[in-house]
Symmetry: C2
Subunit: 369 residues, 2 copies
């Protein structure tokens, strides 16, 4: 599989949903496979909150392959011998696209908290500029889970002529207060962390000291991305063999797991990017521009394929069923499919239980239902 | 209804589950109604994590009555014209019983982080000393929800001759990793809060500055004590009218609710008490002393009445069903009743949806099934 990582700089201002303007911006993106001559074999992949444009393949120095490597590759469900796959790092994220630590051209300093709040629609609009520059007018499909699923839904509504098929996994038409609450923990913990210094933190400090506030936010995320049953199965009540049961800070294995993953997170993800990306997810609402969800989904021309996961504790299956019901209600039942996967890994099932829905995706990509 | 608040001091050492010893201790408690002549009308009420011995009635200067005032009172389900009700503040809690800010007799200083880790069994054992001092040998019933339900279960196993009936609501036989994870957020946030000063905080600082770490822990608690449906119904996607949608720190109403409740919490609850009480809940395991749950529940002589709530996100109904199944498996099916209440308020349903189970309790207290 041919992998390329590239960056494009856009000098044309991007008018944001908020009314503010991003004077210029960069998008870093990765591609897998080869673009065919008539540019008709494109599949767009959209990443979730904490992940990057590195969706598949493995670089020489990498311990782990890209985050959807089980789905994307030669001979896999998203077959890179057939398709040319593009995954862009979202605006605001901390993996190389323009974000709060980028230089504000009007001040020549990092934006920090002066960075504008972005919406999912802004991320998608910027990515459309990228495809345009690459001469890509149409996509065979768009696929995304969680925040990537929000992008997929947004493409289907805002750019209805772009993709033939849109796959939205483990996502929602609008973020509900349950998911907002988990993000709130992180947002508050970051704001109150003295190392954060109201956004004026030193990046070296964070590499040296970590950022407990962001780690605590990550813990809240890990809880709602997994599930009670998974925790029971994986950790049960196992206790750290090094710790005393009656030590106040002695730890169950689940606590060690949360600590390990959470305290590493600030080394790879920036706290301002975390704040802006949480905010972007919180304000996501497919119905905003058209007043109602019905009006928004009435614009959809693609086939819309919805996949939910039975034990998703972030975006519950009912939230995806609601989209299916709306499509049926507005007379677009022929354009929508819905599958609930019986999962055991919570929200993250879309990343780790690919074997349960890959055939479904293959059949749909091949035009079977 | 006659209400009395009293404190008892115990000079006899309490040998703790951990092997450590609490040299002396105090318990503050409240009683409602009148103890009858043969002391046969006692009902013990056990409080959850963040509440106190003030379970019912309203003092002259109080805006709100005690936390289970809808259940306990003259003519109510726990009828104080018939019963003499006792509710003790648990050891370790911050409402007046011995806790980490009490004076350690061996050093004449506050314990702080030298306070021993307590188990639910220690709390219950100390309360038994209180009943003994009051000349109470038997209880008509014990009733508790959440951490109070853990105490109720512990009484039924450790002191099987004490109560005729035990009511455990919204609780579990052993704390699972899901609930431990929510507590973990608070424990980590408190530890990393610079105002906490590794347990050597100034109480005046906390009154003046709050303690964001404890507030963030409280937020995590509030999320798992409520439920996604309740959040949808109560807050939906309403946005604070004072805040901008595209302001990074602009807030949805759910966020304002969490902030309001969380940031007030450190004014009424001590962070060390919070840490010790979370730890006590985390290590709760009905099977510990007897190796298996079956052996533990084999000791039960009381009628055991289990009430779960359909949308409880802290202790899921399956956890209480498991206790019922164990009782049946060990041949004690006649001693157990189980009711799942169709609730809409999450874990906190045991506090706020009393009308859905009060008749059930009344009938059982009167010996009907």
């Amino acid at each position: 599989m041919k992998i390329q990582t590239k960056k494009e700089r856009f000098k044309e201002p991007l008018r944001l949903e908020s009314g503010r303007i991003l004077e210029e911006y960069e998008l870093i993106y990765e591609t897998y496979g080869e673009l065919n001559e008539d540019k008709s074999n494109v599949i767009v992949v959209c990443h979730p909150l904490s992940l990057s444009h590195h969706a598949a393949g493995r670089y020489a120095d990498e311990a782990k392959a890209g985050w959807w490597n089980n789905l994307i590759g030669d001979g896999k469900a998203v077959d890179t011998t057939k398709y040319f796959v593009i995954c862009s790092n979202t605006l605001g994220s901390s993996y190389g696209s323009t974000n709060p630590l980028s230089i504000d051209p009007s001040t020549k300093k990092e934006y920090r908290l002066k960075f504008p709040v972005l919406a999912i629609s802004d991320v998608v609009k910027a990515q459309m500029k990228l495809y345009d520059r690459l001469g890509i007018k149409k996509a065979k499909a768009i696929i995304g889970g969680s925040m990537g699923g929000m992008q997929a839904l947004c493409y289907s509504i805002e750019f209805p002529d772009f993709a033939e098929q849109v796959f939205a996994l483990a996502t929602t038409a609008y973020t509900r207060p349950w998911a907002i609450s988990f993000n709130k923990i992180g947002m508050e913990a970051i704001r109150h962390d003295p190392i954060f210094k109201n956004g004026n933190y030193s990046k070296d400090d964070i590499q040296a000291l970590g950022l407990p506030g962001l780690a605590i936010g990550r813990m809240a995320g890990l809880i709602c991305y997994l599930s009670p049953n998974l925790f029971n199965r994986k950790f049960g009540r196992d206790y750290a063999s090094t710790d005393g049961l009656y030590e106040l800070f002695g730890r169950f294995e689940i606590e060690k797991y949360l600590e390990y993953n959470a305290y590493n997170f600030p080394k790879v993800f920036d706290p301002l990017s975390y704040l802006y990306t949480c905010k972007m997810m919180n304000i996501f609402d497919s119905g905003r521009n058209e007043d109602t969800l019905e009006n928004s989904f009435a614009k959809v021309k693609s086939k819309l394929h919805l996949i939910s996961f039975s034990d998703d504790m972030t975006f519950f299956p009912e939230e995806m069923e609601e989209i299916k019901d709306i499509m049926i209600k507005i007379g677009k039942g022929e354009q929508v499919t819905y599958k609930m996967v019986e999962s055991q890994s919570g929200h993250d099932s879309f990343l780790v239980e690919v074997e349960k829905f890959e055939d479904y995706i293959i059949n749909l990509l091949e035009g079977k239902k």
